[in-house]
Each structure stands twice: as C-alpha cells, then as structure tokens.
Amino acid sequence: MNLSTSNFSKFLIKLIFIVSVISFILTKIFEQNIILKTQTSGAYKINKIINEDLENEIPIFGTSRAKSNYSSSIINKNCFNYGVDGISSKIWIFFLEEELKKNKQKPIIINFDLNGFRNYLGSNSNYIFNYPSIKNLTNQHSFNNNLPLLKYYGYYEYYLTEYLKYKFPLNKIIDKGGVYSNSIFSDSDFNFNIIRRSKLSEFFKIDSNQVKKLFSLINATNRKIYFVISPYHKSVLNNYSNLKDAFQFLRLLEKCENVKVLNYSEVELKNEMFFNTSHLNYNGSQLFSKLLLDSLKLIDSENFN
C-alpha cells in the first residue's frame, strides 16, 4: 500500500467513524426528544402500544377517523386515542394484538371503517423501526433501518413538523392522541368536498387472513371489545355499493360474546360538524363522543360513568 492509498484509507475510516458516532448521537436525541415526545404521531403510538402497560388505560384503535372523531377526555379519563393517519385495518389489528398481550381487563374501543379490511400501511413515518414486529408488519427489512440517521432518512422533516404541530397547534385541538380541527368550512368549500368525494366508488372489502386473525384475537380474550362505526356524512354512504355486506359482517362479529357493535354511521349530523365528508371536526367529535358515552354508560356502567 503506497502513501496515497494508506492516507486515503485513514481518511475514509476517520470520516465513517465520526459520521457514525455523530449520527448515532443525533438519532438518539431526535428519537427521544422529538419522535417519542409527539403524542399524536403514529410512531409514538406504535412505541407506546409495544412498551407501555397501563392497567387502567382504555385504548381507541383505528385509522385517521378514530384520531379525529373520538374525544378521549369525554369518553373516559383513562382513554387514549391510538388512531393513526393513512393506515388500514391491518395496522389496527396489530395494535389490538399488542394490546391483548397485556394483562388487563379494561375494554377496548375500535373504530370500524365501512371500507372493511385493507392492507395499506400509510407513510413510513408512522412507524419506528426499532422492533422486529414492526419490521415484519411493514415488511421493511432493509439494512438501512438498522443504521443511525439512515433509518429515518427523508422523514425527519415530517417528525419535526408533527412535533411542532403537537406543541403549537394553530387551528387544531390536541387531546390524548386525538387531533381535532376547529375550522368550519364554508358551504361552497364543503360542497366541493362532497363533489370530489362522490367521484370515488366506495365498497366494503373482506380480507380473509385479517378476518381470521381478528376472530382468533377476539376469541382468545375475555376483554370487552366495542366496534364503533363513527358518523359519516350521508353523501359518503350513498357512494357505497355493498353496505349490506358490511352490516352482515358486523352482525357476525357481534355473535362473539365479548363484542358489541355500536353503529353511528347513519346519525345525521349537520355539515358544520364535519372537517370533511368522513372526518368530524372538533365540535363534531365532542358531540359524537357524548353520544357514544351515553350508549357506553348503558352497556358498561362499570367502565364508563
């Protein structure tokens, strides 16, 4: 090895070593102080469901509709909203699976979407790739996910934005994992939303693997599970081609002893209660959560009072 190549090797080793050490430190700082401090982010919720075991906590699982429609504080002081943006049933079934590993007796609330069982995972920024179960769930076995800085490459901005939104919510209200918009759209804007949405064809879909897994989880526990269909704007329901199949499935689900289905899909709420046709705004979520609490009090006064 001549002088040049030996110098170059030394340079390269120094460069890789220093970058790795700084990366490792920065990643840890960022993970602990930003990602895991943003209660509203998917990554925080994933980390929480895997690591925290709070005996009295009543979890609410689901997609962005769960995140925006359920006001945890109204339903129960021990409720936490685990709703995550952009995900599908595949992920809330994972949340349920993790929850049922815990030695708890508190009920579980699941927001059930009428599009049924889907497989989309949403953005990678919803996850924290520190656990093998998450790598399996998202099928992200890339080597990059083990390297400091590279494992969050391209998502730092997202995490930081989420953190800032959580810390300084401008037009949103934050409540134990839930995020609620307090803006009310004008009639014309809302109508535009309805027209845009009406172009989409909606349908209920069954995924036999997910259904099988869901039933096996339900049957393996004696914890009460409430499947709640939170309100949709009526224009959305009109787009569904096979709603009957969805309700037939829910009836099947209700045959399980520890399951109760609460259907609010057809509750007619005014336009000003919606953020868009499938998500409620802050006022809508308050109203719906009160309605839900009234029902829960009747069914399960021990846990909801």
Partner: protein, 468 residues
C-alpha cells in the same frame, strides 16, 4: 441507477476498488477495458437495448475519424465529415425529434392522419452525440489526431460518470487522459469526495426539496395567485440549477476518484452581471460547444451586426431544441437569444449609461429575466407558460397561507427558503472546493454528509437533465 441511489453507491464502490487494483498492473488497456465494461453495465441498468446505439455511434465515429485523418483530398474529408454528421444527427433526430416535427407538421397543415412512432428517448443521447460530433469535427479541422486505440475511444464516449448528462467533454481534453497511466492521488481523491458530497447536497437537499413546491404549483397553475407563482418560478430557478450543477459536480467527483479531470460545468451563474456572463457560467460545456461548433463557423462576432444577431438567434434556437422536442424549449432559447441581442444593442449605444449601474443591480435584473424564461422551460406546453405569465400579471397578492405554501405546509416553505440561503452561504467556501488542509476536507464532508442524511428529501428523484 441514479447517482443519488444506494445501488449506485455499491456499484461505484466495487468499480473503485477493482479499478485501482487493476491499475496496479500498469496496463492502460486493462484499466480502460474495465472502465468500458463498467460503463456499459451502468448504461444497461437504464435500458440495455440502447447499448447498441452507443456502440454503433462510437465505432462509426472511430472509423470515420481515422479515414478523415488519412484522407489526402479535401472533398473526401468533407464527404466523411458529412457522413458523420448525418449519422449522429440522424440518430438524434430519429430518437428525439421525429415525433415532434411530424406532430408540428400535422398541426400546421391540419392533416388528420399522421405518422407517429412510439419511440423511447435513449438516456444521454444528446450528450454523447455532441461529444462524438466534436471529435470528428476537430479531426476534420486538423485540431486533433484520431485515437489509435479503439478501447480508449469507446471508453471516452461511454465513460459512465458523464455519460447520461455530461459535461460534454472535448476529445482534446478527455481522450488523452485515457491514453495515459493514472495513479492514485490522495489530494485529488479528497477533492473528488468533496465534489460528490456537495453535488449530492445540491441535488438531494436543495433541488428535491424545492421540487415539492414547484411540482405542486406547476401541476395546477390555474388555482394559484401571483404570490405562489412567483415563489414557484424562483424556486424552479434554484431547483434546476442545483439539480444540474449537482449532477455535474458528482460526475466530476466520480471522475476524479478514477483519476480523470472533467471540465467545470457551472460557475455561480445566478451571480452573472449580464446575459453574456450568464452563458459563460451556465452549462459551460454546452455553451462552449455551441460557440465553437456553431457560432464561430457561422461567422461568430466578426461579421456585420445584422449577421451577428442572426447567428445568435440560430445558436439559441438550436440550443433550446437540443434540450427537448417541445416549443417551450424553442421559446426559451429564442428569448435568451433575444435578450443577448438586446444586451449587445444596449452596450453598443448606451455603454456609458449602464457603466454606472452597480453590479448587484445588474445581477438582480439578469436573474429576474432568466427566472421568467425558466417558466417556458418548466411548462408542459406554450399554453401553460402563457397561463402562468397571465396569472402572475394579474397581480393578485391576496394573503392565503395555504396557497402561499402551495398546500405543502409553512414548514416546507421555510425550509425551502432556508436551503436557498444555505446554498448562497456555501458560495463562501473555497473556489471549486479546493481546501488547503486534509482536515478541512474531513470537516466539510462530515458536515455535508450529516446535512444530507438529516435534511435530504426521501426518494430517488431523477435528475432533470436526464430527460435531455
């Protein structure tokens, strides 16, 4: 396989190690042969079917080059040169412009049924065609002797760091480097790494970030007000600069790591104080190519003023067309020509007046015009660019945060502006990133790599100039 992908990093790492191991044998042919195979493998990742096109173009120019040199008669030389021009420009025309000219013909003459071929544009064809063209022209002019080694020549044409988007190297600069032994040089390598990291910073951190805002606005020009449209046009000016100059820096850096020296392609073009200055700083390899092989043969500046104006317009319209088969590029080229002519007129008649204008004002004015002309370059068609200008000149500056942020959030806008400031601050670095001490190289690379990892935009986004 993009330069900004992990797969390229692995590819280059293997090539780098093997190349310098082979170079120890001190045999130029082995080293060149290895680079040739690597270049063809690299190109095959894009589309192996077009490999034949590069080989065809290279071999024919290699043979024609030798024949021109050996030929004693001028007529014969001229005939061979024409053959090379027809072959190279013919390939370029067929693959890049055939559909454009046919469709324009159909539009002009309102013919209902036209012949339109489903042709894929081979990556890098505009770049390597111009490179081989300059080779035969230089031999014809007696400025260059033909390459005696076919491996060297094939490697010169297909050298992977600059194959897909330049710089368009002159045979007189690059070809001799393939005919001499390369030895590993520590300082050059450090310089090469720094050029690569700085290029990646420009591409991944700045260009790809600005693209988020720009794409959002250009996708729906009609729904934005003057405020957003002006921001998007300024962002696009910086996006295209960082994208292309980033690529050129990476190409130079990779070449340096392999012991080659490529020409500097950009020299802080937005600090230009005139249009002439801008074209001395922007895509230097292309502008000097047009100067040497088109403008000067047309008569250059040593003609009547009218003829000079004609020459300028010819060069810039063809330069626009070189970028793409679309009227938007032709307009872009035409207006650059127009402003160059205007500038010459102003200098000719009002030299004493403009002498007193401070340089920063000149820079500002040139930037504003260049920025406006990029709107043609970025638009899908002329109608879209006209709509863009119309919407800007509505002077609707109503405040709507969502619209000002192009529906991408205020944080994205703040970061985009911050990155442009960061770019301008990076101009304070030593010229061409030539640091005096190796520790400075180390510090620069650590900071740049960390910035890329922390602030880089996700996804392997294509370089804009790859489409040309």
């Amino acid at each position: 396989m993009y330069f900004n992908s992990i797969s390229f990093l692995f590819f280059f790492f293997i090539v780098f190690i093997m190349y310098w191991s082979i170079s120890r044998l001190k045999n130029i042919t082995y080293s060149n042969l290895f680079l040739l195979v690597s270049s063809y493998i690299f190109y095959s990742f894009w589309d192996w079917r077009f490999l034949g096109l590069i080989i065809l173009s290279s071999i024919s120019d290699y043979i024609i080059g030798i024949k021109i040199f050996q030929s004693k008669k001028n007529n014969h030389k001229k005939l061979l040169l024409r053959l090379s021009l027809i072959l190279n420009i013919g390939l370029l025309f067929t693959f890049k412009y055939f559909n454009f000219f046919i469709n324009s013909f159909i539009d002009v003459f309102s013919i209902s049924d036209g012949v339109s071929l489903n042709i894929i544009l081979p990556v890098g064809i505009s770049f390597y065609t111009f490179q081989t063209l300059s080779y035969t022209i230089d031999i014809y002019k007696g400025k260059l002797k033909p390459s005696k080694n076919i491996i060297s020549f094939l490697t010169f044409v297909s050298f992977f760091p600059q194959l897909v988007a330049g710089p368009i190297e002159r045979a007189s600069n690059l070809l001799p480097q393939f005919n001499s032994l390369r030895s590993f040089n520590f300082k050059n390598t450090l310089h090469g790494i720094s050029l690569i990291t700085y290029g990646l910073f420009k591409k991944i951190v700045i260009a790809d970030k600005l693209a988020i805002y720009v794409n959002s606005v250009f996708l729906n020009v009609d729904s934005y007000n003057s405020f957003s449209l002006i921001i998007a046009s300024v962002f696009f000016s910086f996006q295209i600069y960082c994208d292309f100059s980033g690529y050129s820096l990476i190409a130079r850096g990779l070449s340096k790591l392999l012991g080659f020296e490529l020409m500097v392609n950009f020299s802080q073009p937005y600090l230009a104080t005139s249009f002439r200055d801008f074209w001395r700083k922007w895509h230097i390899s292309l502008s000097t190519w047009f100067r040497d092989y088109l403008f000067i043969p047309l008569g250059g500046s040593n003609r009547t003023f009218g003829r000079i104006i004609y020459n300028i317009f010819i060069v810039f319209i063809i330069s626009g067309l070189w970028h793409g088969a679309n009227w938007t590029f032709i307009c872009w080229g035409f207006f650059h020509g127009f402003f160059l002519v205007l500038e010459r007129l102003i200098i000719k008649y009002y030299y004493k007046t403009i002498e007193f204008i401070p340089n920063f004002l000149k820079t500002y004015l040139v930037f504003i015009i260049v920025n406006c002309l990029w709107i043609f370059f970025r638009s899908k068609n002329i109608d879209e660019s006209l709509l863009y200008f119309n919407k800007i000149f509505e002077f609707n500056f109503s405040f709507n945060l969502n619209m000002i942020c192009a529906h991408k959030g205020p944080f994205n806008l703040i970061l985009s502006i911050s990155f442009i400031i960061l770019l301008l601050l990076s101009y304070k670095l030593p010229k061409d990133l030539k640091f005096k001490k190796s520790n400075n190289y180390l510090l620069f690379n650590i900071i740049t790599i960390l910035i890329i990892l922390f602030l880089g935009t996700n996804g392997e986004n294509e370089f804009i100039y790859f489409q040309f």
